[in-house]
């Protein structure tokens, strides 16, 4: 479970002016559910995802992570979890690697190397043995119907295939949660539907899913358990209501 308690993120633009991108947000995300953040561009969705994904720290407030196992914290179901915003940098990286898998709007794949290697890339710095990682990557490619592109450079792949490679890459370190930022922005509606199907299957397999999007195909999806609407850094509406 992820619980945000009065989280605020303020960017200082100049010594005298600052900008509050996320303003006093409290939100609970249950394990194994799908949460959609919707709202116009600039409403703070990406910033909120970055906060939850331990990519940046809140200016104030707490982000409690429960059920996350790390070398420094052995979680039990009874325990309250810990506040990720108070942890030192190296622990944040560790949590980010082991807990979250990220999917980006631009796919963020590296050109010139194979789809397989792209999928394996997040596992390299963890020090896991390559054959083990490769085995897992091949299984993911099979799961997402990518096997025939195993050794193709990614620039040969179609948009839908690129999106599936990006999903597979997000899964390589066996994360608890998947975080996707505008994942359908570069897909047509058919591919967007297919994407929601794949993500729905991930939820069914127990992953926690968190998507920021202003695409109706995403936020109207029947797969969503919770839809949170944001505007100017605040939550303006929540479905189902708390």
């Amino acid at each position: 479970m992820i619980a945000l308690q009065q989280v605020t993120k303020t960017f200082s633009i100049s010594p005298t002016t600052s900008f509050t991108a996320v303003d006093n947000v409290s939100l609970t995300i249950e394990r194994g559910t799908m949460t959609i953040l919707k709202g116009p561009s600039g409403s703070g969705k990406t910033t909120l995802l970055a906060l939850i994904g331990c990519m940046t720290r809140p200016s104030s407030g707490r982000i409690m992570l429960q059920g996350v196992e790390t070398s420094f914290f052995q979680a039990t179901d009874r325990s309250e979890g810990f506040d990720s915003s108070s942890l030192p940098e190296r622990f944040l990286t560790e949590i980010r690697r082991s807990t979250f898998g990220f999917i980006f709007q631009q796919f963020n794949l590296i050109k010139g190397i194979s789809a397989l290697q792209n999928i394996m890339l997040p596992a390299y710095p963890t020090g896991e043995q390559q054959p083990v990682v490769r085995q897992r990557a091949v299984e993911l490619m099979e799961q997402f119907d990518l096997l025939r592109h195993c050794n193709s450079p990614v620039e040969w792949l179609s948009g839908g295939e690129l999106q599936r490679v990006a999903i597979a890459r997000a899964l390589i370190n066996n994360p608890i949660a998947i975080i996707a930022d505008e994942p359908t922005a570069h897909l047509d509606s058919q591919l967007s539907q297919a994407f929601m199907e794949s993500i729905g299957l991930l939820k069914d397999s127990g992953k926690t899913v968190l998507i920021a999007s202003h695409d109706p195909i995403v936020y109207n999806s029947s797969r969503a358990d919770q839809v949170v609407e944001m505007r100017d850094g605040r939550i303006v509406q929540q479905e189902p209501p708390v």
């Binding site: 970055a50 290697q117 390299y124």
Partner: protein, 378 residues
């Protein structure tokens, strides 16, 4: 520990595939790098080998040479000085030597003439160094004319040519009988160019030298150790040119390294952002860039040094022997004996591999210290 090792392996693997991905850029980097190392290492090997050659030569030189001085200048020494010097306690042998230089106006070359004490060529004939033979285009049994002091030609038969691979200095050598030498320069029979003095106990050298000056205040004894110093500084002077070349090469290297390695392309910058966003730490990115730089600089360093070794010791430094070698105008053709100065090579290693690797890492470090969420937005 196990994990740390396979982290290195994984990142090294990816570094190699990244190098292959930018083949054209990296091959040109490798070639320029290799070329510069090749030039510098060749110079180092070459001068080192010459120094060694000179040291070998001096090893055969006498412990002490006694010259006579007149008005501060070297003059011929009467051979009867030698009889009195050999009477000094500790002196085991005194040999009068006859030698000098001869300028050949036709071929515009300087030769070293020497009348050896042991096994001299019979009167009327000479033994010549390979350089002289090449210069005069003569072979054994040919006739040569040297101009004597009065301008009249002296006709000499070549009785032999010294082996090609002998030594640096022997290339311009002409050995002749004492009679011919004296006739050529109108030298009286009771004088010599200098005296070679052998002392049984090297620790007595200075004492013996002092006694000689006491006995003959118009002489100057020169010890071999002083000769060694002179040769050394001579090579250092020749090496002065080398230092300039070295500086130029190193300077161009720094510019090259800075220009080539530091310019992160937009694509590389984007890749660093992607790696950060999928969970790579700044340290992981730096390790990747370190391996990319290290692989290029290590292989190029090795290739450059090996090529230089072949160039200097197997092709006799064909590319710049004309610039540095040859005592006379002649350029001896000979094989340098391989010698490697570990210290100078280490200095070269440190001065090339370190700045290059730094030049690869620093810009990557600047690009990699962006916050991961910034990478997420890019």
């Amino acid at each position: 520990m196990h994990h740390a090792l396979s982290r290195h392996r994984n990142i090294l693997d990816f570094a190699l595939s990244s190098l292959l991905r930018r083949k054209a850029k990296n091959i040109s980097l490798f070639l320029v790098y290799t070329l510069i190392i090749f030039v510098i290492a060749s110079l180092i090997f070459f001068v080192q080998a010459l120094k060694r050659e000179a040291a070998l030569l001096l090893a055969e030189a006498p412990d002490m040479v006694v010259q006579r001085m007149i008005a501060g200048r070297h003059d011929l020494i009467p051979t009867n000085y030698g009889e009195k010097i050999s009477a000094i306690r500790g002196v085991s042998e005194v040999t009068p030597r006859l030698w000098g230089y001869y300028y050949d106006p036709v071929f515009q070359a300087n030769y070293t003439l020497l009348a050896p004490d042991t096994a001299p060529p019979p009167p009327g004939s000479i033994t010549i160094g390979s350089g002289v033979a090449r210069n005069l285009r003569i072979k054994t049994d040919d006739l040569v004319t040297f101009r004597s002091y009065s301008g009249t030609p002296l006709l000499l038969t070549v009785s032999g040519i010294m082996p090609l691979h002998s030594e640096l200095v022997s290339a311009d050598l002409v050995l002749m009988a004492a009679e011919d030498f004296q006739a050529m320069f109108r030298m009286p029979k009771d004088v010599a160019t200098d005296l070679a003095v052998t002392v049984a106990n090297p620790r007595e050298l200075v004492t013996v030298a002092n006694k000689i000056v006491e006995l003959f205040p118009d002489t100057r004894p020169i010890l071999k150790s002083e000769l060694l110093r002179t040769y050394d500084s001579l090579f250092d002077w020749r090496g002065g040119m080398m230092v300039v070349m070295l500086a130029v090469a190193l300077f161009s290297f720094v510019i090259f390294a800075w220009d080539k390695a530091s310019g992160l392309s937009a694509e590389e910058r984007k890749e660093i952002g992607i790696l950060k966003s999928i969970g790579w730490e700044t340290g992981d990115v730096l390790l990747l860039k370190f391996w990319e730089g290290a692989v290029i600089s290590l292989t190029a360093f090795l290739a450059g040094v090996l090529l230089a070794y072949g160039h200097v010791f197997f092709s006799s430094a064909a590319l710049f022997s004309h610039a540095l070698k040859g005592w006379a105008i002649l350029y001896p053709q000979f094989r340098l004996v391989p010698t490697i100065d570990g210290y100078q090579l280490s200095v070269l290693f440190v001065l090339s591999v370190l700045p290059y690797t730094a030049a690869t890492i620093i810009p990557a470090w600047l690009a990699a210290t962006i916050a991961p969420d910034a990478a997420m937005r890019s």
